[in-house]
């Protein structure tokens, strides 16, 4: 039962959705609702109006674009995890989508919602960071994109709707690894990596306060080899405060876990590249 009260509206198009969001105090975007509804029930979030965009066709679909892959914000996590193009050209994104929750949550939960939920409880953002993806937003001022890294820090500005995730294609040289909390399935630590000609990109969430690119680790590992010893040493050189303990964990444990998961991911991505 949700004890807080709100109004609900289902706009027929994105323009109407934006007008409602811009013109109503306390209006929030509802898509799959798999993060928002539990938060409303728990009293962690409040809303006066939910603007349900789940039926807007213009926000659906996965396709190729000039930069790589364009993932419509309403693509469900289940669709994303099984999409042939995403699996072939952004495997860390598909694997991260599949790591969220359970099959039922993935059937309703959306790519845009997963990114917009923010924090360290979802898995897609870390893959978006490693992929150096961009988040496309629509607002009163039109449409624009922001780097996924910036979006992970600032979130969706009030009155905007996430419309797409734009992912550069990588081939197979990318991977995702996660250790899930057994009760919640949230990441104790999730890491995504992509190996590029300029060196590896490495992002971590769960173990950190929010999804983060670890540029220090990337720098230390440039040129490889990605042996477990080398990766663990690269993570040990990070400041301990980077790792934020959650239930029953310590910063030391999380730092080590992040290193172990990153090593596995790097080794798999490196193998795929060879």
């Amino acid at each position: 039962m949700i004890l807080t009260e709100f109004d609900y509206v289902r706009p027929v198009g994105l323009d109407e959705a934006l007008a409602l969001l811009g013109g109503t105090r306390g209006a929030k975007v509802l898509a799959g609702g798999q993060s928002l509804l539990p938060a409303l029930r728990a009293g962690e979030e409040s809303a006066r109006l939910l603007v349900d965009v789940r039926h807007l066709e213009e926000l659906r679909g996965v396709g190729r674009s000039a930069e790589g892959i364009r993932i419509g914000a309403l693509t469900t996590l289940a669709e994303l995890a099984a999409h042939a193009v995403v699996l072939a050209e952004a495997p860390e994104v598909a694997a991260a989508a599949r790591a969220n929750g359970d099959p039922q949550v993935r059937n309703l939960g959306t790519a845009g919602g997963n990114l917009a939920a923010g924090g360290r409880a979802t898995d897609l953002a870390v893959a978006a960071l490693a992929a150096d993806a961009r988040v496309e937003l629509a607002g009163p001022g039109g449409r624009w994109t922001v780097p996924a890294e910036e979006f992970a820090e600032s979130g969706a500005p009030a009155g905007t709707v996430v419309t797409a995730l734009l992912v550069p294609a990588a081939g197979r040289a990318a991977a995702f690894e996660k250790t899930a909390d057994p009760a919640t399935l949230y990441p104790v630590c999730a890491t995504a990596v992509r190996i590029t000609p300029d060196g590896p990109r490495i992002a971590v969430t769960g173990a950190t306060a929010r999804p983060l690119r670890l540029r220090g680790v990337e720098e230390r590992l440039r040129g490889g080899p990605y042996t477990t010893e080398a990766v663990l040493a690269a993570f040990r050189a990070e400041p301990r405060e980077l790792f934020v303990p959650g239930r029953g964990t310590s910063a030391e444990y999380l730092g080590h876990l992040a290193g172990v998961l990153a090593a596995r991911a790097l080794q798999r991505a490196d193998q795929a590249l060879a």
Binding site: L3, D7, Q104, L108
Partner: protein
């Protein structure tokens, strides 16, 4: 709000508050109490129903957001004559129900898996267990549920109703079970790590 919903093939019209959850409409509004409320936080899976053919947690969707869709509950799975579906019959034969509280949610969740894989090889044991990630059985009796799904898939592939092909289905289920556990746990399209992480919870 005035809303309409197709539930188990019947059009329903009613007035509902915007903050009403679909599970509340089904149980309290429509009297379909086969759908259970276990945790009310989206974790236990006893409230799973199918929305336009996809399994979802009915405590994680507003009635208003589901309006206009086709909802199937456990009451819609059994025929009007009370005949069990192939999956239900296979679960019964494998004793895959235990206390029964989680069973409606499991049938609605697993029904999607059985349906989705009908045109390919039967799902492997790891696939079945991964699919059960969102359904908690506090009798902890997942083994017999897994066997029930394997039996249902074998029976469907043999195109013989499970109830009259008992012996054949058992041997076929055992065969597919061992084949499943010997092969790579993740489907070819998914990396091994994703499979391992998504099934982080032991089922």
């Amino acid at each position: 709000m005035d809303l309409s919903l197709n539930v188990n093939g019947r059009p329903e019209q009613f007035a509902a508050e915007p903050n009403e959850l679909l599970v509340e409409r089904l149980r309290d509004g429509l009297g379909l109490t086969g759908t259970k409320v276990g945790c009310d936080t989206g974790q236990c899976g006893t409230c799973v129903v199918q929305l336009d053919g996809r399994s979802v947690k009915s405590c994680l969707i507003l009635t208003a957001a589901a309006a206009g869709s086709r909802v199937t509950t456990i009451e819609g799975v059994t025929t009007r004559g009370g005949e069990l579906s192939g999956l239900q019959e296979a679960l019964r034969q494998e004793h895959g129900t235990q206390c029964g509280f989680c069973t409606p949610g499991m049938v609605m969740a697993l029904g999607e898996l059985v349906e989705n894989t009908a045109d390919r090889e039967a799902p492997t044991e790891p696939e079945i267990r991964e699919w059960l990630t969102g359904n908690l059985c506090r009798c902890t009796g997942y083994h017999s549920v897994v066997r029930g799904v394997q039996r249902a898939c074998s029976a469907a592939r043999a195109e013989i109703p499970a109830e009259i092909s008992g012996a054949a289905a058992v041997s076929a289920a055992a065969g597919s079970g061992s084949a499943g556990s010997a092969s790579e746990p993740a489907p070819a399209s998914v990396s091994a790590s994703a499979s391992a992480s998504a099934s982080g919870k032991e089922v």
